[in-house]
Symmetry: C2
Subunit: 202 residues, 2 copies
Amino acid sequence: MPSDRAPTRIQKKNRAAILEAALNVFSSHGFRGSTVDQIAAESGLSKPNLLYYFPSKEAIHTELLSGLLETWLAPLHDLDENGDPLEELLSYIRRKLQMSQELPRESRLFANELVQGAPRIHEALSQNLKALVDEKTTLLTKWMNQGKIARVHPYHLMFSIWALTQHYADFEVQVRAILGDEDPFEGAETFVDTLYRKLLTP
Amino acid sequence: MPSDRAPTRIQKKNRAAILEAALNVFSSHGFRGSTVDQIAAESGLSKPNLLYYFPSKEAIHTELLSGLLETWLAPLHDLDENGDPLEELLSYIRRKLQMSQELPRESRLFANELVQGAPRIHEALSQNLKALVDEKTTLLTKWMNQGKIARVHPYHLMFSIWALTQHYADFEVQVRAILGDEDPFEGAETFVDTLYRKLLTP
DNA sequence: TCTTGATTTGACCATCTGGTCAAACTCACG
DNA sequence: CGTGAGTTTGACCAGATGGTCAAATCAAGA
């Protein structure tokens, strides 16, 4: 086990390789469906060597999730009280859609965890996420009261944005099976933009 | 193994019990995360007895999925060419939402499979589902051309309906973590109704 | 009631899987 | 270049898991 001193060059490289490999494996097979051997192979390390850097499979998974949570919530964090309400929301939605396109593995990592009842991130949901969402829905309600955007249920508005944007990453196989060669994200951007403009224009 | 004669009373009862148990287990842990022992315990049978009725874990899973696919696609099948376009769509959406509420296990069973790349139902997606969707999107396009509903990308309209309605079943933990005691489906119905009325009213 | 096919089970097996460990090897630095 | 900390690995282990099988039990019709 690496000591608690500053990480060496090799430690940095190998820990990064492991997390990258784990993201691939966990996001495509879920926690239980992934094996340490798979992650080891994918990262180019032997299994004992991998377990020299992380104490357990669970530890890798936990570190991945908590490390990515911040990235995952950043767009919502950035929803700006001082911007134009409709444009702020549309830009949030566009960023979420972009994340589905550029970080589909991350999306599926969380999707896997959530669909199975979130046994390992239940706390983060009802603490961090809940607090952030409450803060932002308060802002949304304010905008609605000011007549800046149409009045809809703010929590369900949130859910709809997550559902719509993450769908393209989480259920990518299905989307591709239907669309064939058509690029999913091209049509998606226009579609969601239209949808939320119509929904939210007062 | 039961012969290929007409199933006995016991066969019917036990096969049903196994499929019911398997739905519970597979939908909450995914295929790989579920064990034959779990399904056996849940169905009240011993493991060898369970394997007397189904040749393998995989066979149970396959039968579940293919058995439920029809139920799952029924609401879309029922989209009626001769009804009022907007009302037909809204009623489809309401039915999908109701299925999320009443059959969340079924929804999560498919979600688990899809998020992991649909290794076991890829064919059904690009055959049955694709054909049905193509048929119905043709109808949607016709309605759009007739000016009965607003013109949007029909495939993405479909995706949005699936994403929005199934979200409440698939990511139920998250929804509940945010909503607290509030009933998800009460707000959801009003929300999606408003949303699709605004989107689709020409 | 007797017989025969259907049903059930305890014991068992091979393989997979997460994890350990001692020994070997490598690297950076004095 | 020598040395000690850091790194790597082959061999191994215990428990979990999917699946088998022969023997025992049960149920329904002749």
